[in-house]
Symmetry: C2
Subunit: 168 residues, 2 copies
Amino acid sequence: MPSHYKGRRDTLRALNAYINLARASDSLLGRMSAELERNGLTMGQFGVLETLLHLGPMCQRMLGQKLLRSGGNITLVVDNLEKHGWVRRERQRDDRRMIVIHLTPQGRKLIEGVFPEHAQAIKKEMSVLEPREQESLRRICRKLGRGGERLREQQRKREKEHDTDSTK
Amino acid sequence: MPSHYKGRRDTLRALNAYINLARASDSLLGRMSAELERNGLTMGQFGVLETLLHLGPMCQRMLGQKLLRSGGNITLVVDNLEKHGWVRRERQRDDRRMIVIHLTPQGRKLIEGVFPEHAQAIKKEMSVLEPREQESLRRICRKLGRGGERLREQQRKREKEHDTDSTK
DNA sequence: ATCTAATTGTTTAATGTTAAACGAATATGC
DNA sequence: GCATATTCGTTTAACATTAAACAATTAGAT
């Protein structure tokens, strides 16, 4: 069946790319997570602290969007960071729904110390790849992520249209 | 400081590759997970069923190695699959420590139906990449994964040596 | 043979994650 | 202005995942 052949070839290529992507990121993130926990930080906590350090104070909603995490998750992570005294919540005056999260001096000191170590660990892991391969990986993954967003937006649009249709 | 410059450049390249890899796989796996749940399967359950389908009956230990999951996790996933009647446990006669997991006819039927759908969903996600890019992604991720295994083995060796030293 | 190691699977406690339901605050339509 | 809808953060219930402690079984050393 030569007509099935190309489809099968395409599917196999996609499957192989997918499975290797999934396994590589799974094992890599696992190791990076263990590295951070040696410094007393979870992956989620590190993500929030690093975002606040590099992008400045920010409300929880925005943190969730940046980190691709749910609102409930951000609430919990910020709770734990607050317990450690690494961040503080500050309600906004003009829109009291929003809470802006700020790094405390201790939090800033912590993340400023941990981030370079973490970056070096990542550099070491990536050193099995040639510079050119690292750049390819970045470009391809960026494209793949954007592709997903595009698909998601289309889906949202479809859902909204569907909603409108069904409610009229 | 020209002596710092190259190191910084290397670090930035590694960091960019890492962050894009992490985000791409995070969002991609999230969407694939949602797709499977529409068929009543979790990612872990799908992984076990798919492995059994393509590699045949297998003990739990081996499943954990193939899927990069802990023993406790495999126990739970197999429990749930067993409750649904999709797999059965069979104790081995010659070595009663091992339990071989078999697909039941219903389980086989299920995974034989779900797998092609899932493969098509993956193909669609990957279609934002050119065939050549998919092959690059596969090759680079494979290399990155192997690199991790190599690092891990070295670490294990170091730990064993350390153990020997500390116990003598 | 017997004592010790290692291996396999299970259980438990802790944590991270999400979706859904909810209250509070704000924006919008009329 | 008032009613309704939307947005933001929180809480809750459910589940996945892991590490660590454990029991059962087998392998190895002597």
